[in-house]
């Protein structure tokens, strides 16, 4: 009976949701990188533009799901309910992750909403290096293949930029070395550990004075901030590669909702505060949507798809080595150590009780059907009561703690720290 009522209510709500204008609840945008990173900063600038001008009519919240080069977050978005309330922001990394084998899916697994903003890519060397132009760098990489080290994380977009250069300048071969993010690559170049690497325009603005020299911009025309830096094309190297930020919705999201989201993003881009921030960060205010966007993504995907990841040298097989060492040392330790203490009945009981309460609690949270505050309150009270069974009973203290802590966690984490609690 309850279930029937419940489903009726749910249906009405769903119907209401359809009848009302989208969005009917906060739109969550999954950023598959940590807070404070480049993508996160980018999204939050647009977010503040949307929120300040109330463009959406509902909150626009950022949920960070970092890990594995963005694939943990993109997979979450891929599996989200396709009603437009969960979307993803991910740059060209979505293309490179597929073609380097880090993920089994690429752009085709999503409905593209819009492309917003483009950052130019510069090829840089240390200012103590003998190279003045990209052509000289490539000539050296052709003369002695593998002698020029190129800092880029394997399978990342900058890696593919390097591979594109190799492909166009036949015979040139870089020695690709993983080198982390922009700041780490700058440190490595300054210390003389790397010869060449890529930087975005805003990174270059910051690090230039520390001893970097741009030898080429991988763009269609020279950048207004550095009119002296030649494009690769001007040097006879036909490579055009930059970093575009895209917004994606799960497959099956209704087209009118995608259009609405695209319109909101377009309006946000046009607000003066977003435009000013983008200018500060040297982001070109590109905006593409609709069929033109599909064409753009297809073009860029084809560029990356032609290339592959090349491994230069054989690296030691650590899982094997550590595993074998572990077995040997474990054997010695077991032989030298005494017998372990036997398990008593009390121990097992404690394990079972704690395991059961924690397991049920976490499963309940995972199912997403129980509100966080409620589940936590019940869990704390039940566990505390079970622990008290043998000793003094402090019911009131326990009840106050359970209510207080669960309420506090709910408020702090959802209102203040914006965490996506069930």
């Amino acid at each position: 009976m309850f279930l029937r009522w419940f489903s009726l209510v749910a249906l009405t709500l769903a119907f209401h949701g359809r009848a009302g204008t989208f969005p009917t609840k906060p739109v969550k945008v999954i950023v598959p990188f940590s807070p404070g990173g480049g993508s996160d900063t980018f999204v939050r600038i647009l977010q503040s533009g949307i929120q300040a001008n109330q463009l959406l009519g509902q909150p626009f919240t950022v949920i960070n799901v970092p890990g594995a080069g963005g694939t943990i977050g993109s997979r979450r978005a891929k599996g989200a309910f396709p009603d437009g309330h969960t979307i993803l922001n991910l740059h060209d990394g979505i293309l490179s992750a597929k073609h380097s084998g880090q993920a089994l899916y690429g752009a085709e697994a999503f409905e593209p909403i819009a492309a917003t903003g483009r950052s130019g890519t510069l090829i840089c060397v240390s200012d103590e290096a003998p190279y003045q132009t990209l052509a000289e760098v490539l000539a050296a990489a052709r003369k002695n293949p593998g002698s020029v080290s190129f800092g880029a994380n394997f399978g990342a977009t900058s890696y593919f930029a390097g591979r594109m250069l190799e492909q166009v300048y036949e015979g040139a071969e870089f020695n690709f070395v993983p080198a982390g993010g922009g700041a780490k690559r700058f440190a490595a170049m300054k210390g003389g550990h790397l010869d060449v690497s890529t930087f975005t325009v805003s990174e270059y603005v910051g690090f230039q004075a520390g001893g970097l020299r741009a030898v080429a911009l991988l763009g269609a025309e020279r950048h207004p901030a550095f009119p002296e830096v030649m494009t690769a094309r001007e040097q006879g190297i036909d490579v055009d590669w930059d970093l575009i930020q895209y917004w994606w919705a799960p497959k099956g999201t209704p087209p009118e909702r995608i259009a609405r989201l695209a319109a909101v993003l377009r309006e946000a881009m046009a607000t003066p505060e977003v435009a000013a921030k983008f200018k500060e960060l040297y982001v070109d205010p590109l905006f593409v949507t609709g069929p033109e966007l599909t064409r753009l993504i297809g073009e860029r995907d084809a560029k990356v798809a032609r290339l592959s990841v090349r491994q230069a040298i054989e690296l030691p097989d650590f899982p094997m080595m550590i595993g074998m060492l572990l077995v040997v040392v474990g054997g010695v330790a077991a032989w030298r150590g005494g017998r372990p203490a036997a398990m008593e009945a009390g121990t097992l009981k404690a394990l079972a009780g704690l395991g059961l309460s924690l397991g049920v609690y976490v499963l309940a949270l995972q199912s997403g059907r129980v509100a966080y505050v409620f589940a936590t309150m019940v869990f704390m009270f039940a566990l505390g009561a079970w622990l008290m069974r043998g000793g003094q009973r402090r019911w009131s203290a326990l009840a106050v703690t359970a209510c207080g802590v669960s309420g506090l966690c709910q408020v702090v984490f959802t209102r203040w720290l914006i965490v996506d609690l069930p």
Binding site: S34, G37, R44, G69, A183, F186, L315, V329, L417, D420
Partner: protein, 484 residues
Amino acid sequence: MDPVLLIWIFLGVTVGVLVGAVPGLTGAMVISLSVPLTFGMAPEPALALLVSMYVGSVSGGLITATLLRIPGTPASIITTLDGYPMAKEGRPGRALGLGMFASLFGGLASWLVLVLLARPLADWSTRMGPADMFSLVLFALVLIAVVSRESLWAGIFSGLLGIFCALPGQHPALGHPRMTFGIAEMDAGFRLLPVLLGLFAVSQVLRDVVELNKRAVTIEVRGDSLWLKWSEWRTQLFNLIRSSALGSLVGVLPGVGANVGSILAYGAAKAHSRTPERFGQGCDEGIVASEAANNATVGGALVPLVALGIPGSVVDAILLGALVIHGLQPGPLLFTNNPEIVGVITNSYLVANLFMFVVMMLGARFIAKLSRVPKEILIPVILTFCVVGCYALGNRMFDVWVMLIFGLVGFGLDRLRVPLAPFVIGFVLAPMAEENLCAALMLSGGSWLPFFTRPISAVFLVIALAVGVSAVVYRPRGTSQQSP
């Protein structure tokens, strides 16, 4: 300094200390989640707030590490080794007092380093290539053997197991997923916080629950004082200076954090001690070394940030993001273009250390009572924070399951008398070691020679070898009864 900034610093330190003390919440997590909160603020108070949260969180971990044997942050793992035994002996006040003063000393010493030596040290840090970094990390790994008090082989086993558990996830050099058993959620491997919370918090809770039934000992606070006599500090002076110097230097190196600083300082203190057998049983030197060093890494880590715009730690990477959002361009020009911002960072760091000491000293009387809160109430609270903290790390339930599984692993290892600290050391250091080893090998085209020909690398390798051999050959006194 602007009095409004002082209020922000006070707020930041207090929040930081609380967050550091609560198992489940770490500084990096709360700071990263608070960055969006600072968007509406001017850059100066925003940075003051974030820097002081950083200082507070590294210090606050000491409290639960000492009183509950649950390190509140990864930085205080080593503090559990001596802090908890001392508290259990009935001297929690002394343990906290030692830790707080050492934290203050480490913080102030590294502030001096930050103000006086930022430029040369930052330049030195860029000269450390992947080969040098690998050898340094290898040296820290060898210290596992030194830290393992109970039994050398069990300690090494634990360290190897930690290294093994750090292997799943993205290959550190090639980026492809490895050892994920086809589980997509494993593509990012196990993250440090869930593993740490599982091993220390959940397994400690399991132990506590078992002991509850036995009506086991609770800590009886005897009349002990937070304030130590000057003569006692004089004996620690050299230890304080050495640990702070080590912490500052380690902090300067990018990617090497507070936990490595405290491991190195603890190892050095033990190696220099006239009574090494007392380490791990609640000795002053151990607490002092760990806490001075982990606070010193914070100042050290700010060195490359202000001098070159390179983050020296995870938290600094978040600070860099905050700079960008506030329209500042991080990089070598920050000093020239925005000297006032660099000033705000260094001054906030100094004031935050002083406030941290005041806040913790004033709170200590109250804090020490934490160990007397009934376990029946404390345990559900700790577990709730652990669950929500793990979830908040990446908005993923997977991390919570990882924590629970490592809780069982930790409990099992403890039953087998395998020490847990080496596990975490291995787990933290392995990815750094592998990343740098791979990068060095790829740079040299597969040759191992640079590890021996680069002077810095060679020095670290020689020290590592010497320490390793001496740990195996000359067994420390006090461990012999463990051998059959």
